[in-house]
């Protein structure tokens, strides 16, 4: 049954499709590089990436730390900002008219330019990177949360009125819980762009010392023609994004078990 712990055989069945797909893709890549005679400076074969990953494990882990910090804090900030703005927009039509167009417009700003300007302004610390990630990540959270808050059945609100519930109680009992899974869905969408945001922000900080983050490192490696290590770093980011995505799914399961139940399984 859904919702119960999976048996060993059940989880093997669930893991099989993604494993097969990854093996097929990696196999095709390896074959293409070997048979096509592609230069490994341009496209390293998977086994070269794996070797580089093994040899540079410590170095990559050190570089993952600042990037992970930026992404996790950035998503947390984006959730806070996006949720707060969504509640303001939901509760006040004047605020909706004031905030929504600006929020949409903020997404059209070329983020690489903003990143450079913020670094001029705030220096090479974590602050401008967080600002960049929050700026691009609050928007999906805002949109999904506004929809979540508005998704409450109008009949439910009528009922609450005849039960003499105050506006606050209607919000607290009906609207707020409906918005929680929506906000987390927004964060899951935001997560993928958060990693891109971290890369953009880090690639502008080329003058700082060691362990400036995976984004910075990928940039430096590509310039130095250390292509296989850049691919290894990208692979680490790939695993990190997947881990974050499923962590958010688990958070949703804890905070909003009713939403998890109605969907059946972690997506």
């Amino acid at each position: 049954m859904r919702g119960r712990p999976m048996s060993a055989r059940g989880s093997a069945h669930r893991l099989l499709p993604p494993l097969v797909l990854v093996l097929v893709l990696v196999g095709a890549w390896e074959a293409y590089v070997e048979l096509g005679g592609v230069d490994s400076f341009v496209l390293p074969a998977p086994h070269e990436v794996a070797v580089s990953l093994w040899q540079n494990a410590g170095f990559l882990a050190q570089n993952l730390k600042p990037t992970a910090e930026e992404v996790v804090l950035g998503i947390a900030l984006a959730l806070l900002v996006g949720f707060g703005l969504a509640v303001a927009i939901h509760l006040s039509p004047p605020l909706r008219r004031a905030i929504y167009p600006l929020a949409v417009g903020s997404q059209a700003i070329p983020i690489a330019v903003i990143a450079v300007l913020l670094i001029f302004w705030w220096g090479f610390g974590i602050l401008p990177k967080l600002a960049v990630i929050t700026l691009i990540c609050f928007f999906p959270v805002l949109v999904t949360t506004v929809d979540g808050l508005a998704s409450v059945d109008p009949d439910e609100l009528k009922l609450l009125r005849t039960l003499d519930a105050s506006r606050w109680q209607a919000f607290r009992f009906a609207e707020l819980p409906a918005a929680i899974p929506a906000a987390i869905s927004g964060a899951r969408i935001a997560l993928t762009v958060a990693v891109i945001g971290a890369y953009i922000a880090e690639s502008q900080t080329a003058t700082t010392g060691a362990y400036a983050g995976l984004g910075h490192e990928i940039d430096a490696d590509l310039t130095a023609l250390q292509t296989s290590r850049a691919y290894a770093a990208a692979f680490v980011l790939f695993l990190f994004a997947i881990a974050c995505f499923y962590t958010l799914a688990l958070v949703e399961r804890r905070l909003a078990p009713w939403a998890y139940r109605s969907r059946g399984e972690v997506r």
Binding site: D153, D155, K158, L159, T162, L163, S166, Q169, F173, W258
Partner: protein, 279 residues
């Protein structure tokens, strides 16, 4: 005009004794138990006089408005169960929303004590357990007492999805009771249930109302349900709705669906629904 009367106050034409009782009723409004203390049985808890209501046609907002109710007059006395039956779309739900103060009538007079709505769908919140759904913002202690009185003991912490349709309606009904209001507006509460569960719910509702007396306006399209449960049945015409017949059901309870008197009254109500003469 919608006049939401203070608890205990019935209409401008009151007997002098009412003012004294009002204080008891006011206290009762603060603490939900003893719902109809001080409400004399000969006074109406809800009185609808010549009420009309039209709303814009959702399919043609600029066209002629849809007349939902046209000159409806009906009343229910304290602790009376008035059933309103009518064909679909005859404005039954509009009538209940008017009584609950969710809409205002275009014409006519509407006087009633504070009323609470029990909608057709249970609308239980999936993030709350049964007890919290019933209590919502109110005291859980009283909700717990009602749960054990009304056969819901053991289901306090069940989530809505774990409950059957009948159980969900019971929780929704307890939520309605806990509002502390003396007038309950039930909008086809058992419409979505299967026949066996519905019959069980009729018995259960009669028991619940015996334990917790309230004035009830029950809207239904099920004539049999109306005759089995109600003290009086008002039959509405097709849209625009108006009362075409009123039947008093002076039968002892519990009533059986197969009782010949129940069957005879059901036939009379059905004939009135079909537009025939009420014998």
């Amino acid at each position: 005009m919608h006049t939401q009367l203070e608890p205990g106050q019935i209409s401008s034409a009151q007997s002098p004794g009412t003012a004294k009782r009002q204080t008891t009723a006011d206290r009762a409004a603060d603490s939900p138990p003893d719902p109809q203390a001080g409400l004399p049985a000969d006074h109406s808890a809800v009185s609808v006089t010549d009420v009309s209501r039209a709303y814009p046609d959702p399919r043609d907002p600029r066209g002629a408005p849809v007349q939902a109710l046209a000159g409806v007059t009906l009343a229910a006395g304290a602790r009376e169960l008035l059933a309103v039956v009518g064909p679909s779309g005859c404005g039954k739900t509009t009538l209940l929303e008017l009584i609950c103060g969710l809409q205002a009538p275009d014409e006519g007079r509407l006087e009633c004590v504070p009323a609470v709505l029990m909608p057709q769908r249970d609308l239980l919140l999936p993030w709350l357990d049964a007890l919290d759904n019933a209590a919502l913002a109110r005291a859980r202690a009283r909700a717990g007492t009602l749960f054990s009185e009304l056969g819901l003991a053991g289901f306090e912490h069940a989530r809505p999805y774990e409950l059957s349709g009948g159980m969900r309606q019971r929780v929704a009904f307890v939520r309605t009771l806990l509002s502390g209001k003396r007038l309950l507006c039930l909008d086809e509460p058992f419409g979505a249930l299967d026949a066996i569960t519905r019959a069980e719910m009729h018995t259960w509702l009669a028991h619940a109302l015996a334990a917790e007396p309230r004035t009830v306006v029950l809207v239904t399209h099920d004539v049999e349900e109306a005759v089995v449960l109600a003290d009086r049945v008002a039959v509405l015409s097709p849209r625009p709705g108006r009362v075409v017949a009123e039947l008093a059901i002076d039968l002892p309870r519990p009533r059986s669906r197969t009782d010949t008197r129940v069957v005879a009254l059901r036939e009379r109500a059905l004939r009135a629904l079909a537009g025939g003469e009420v014998a």
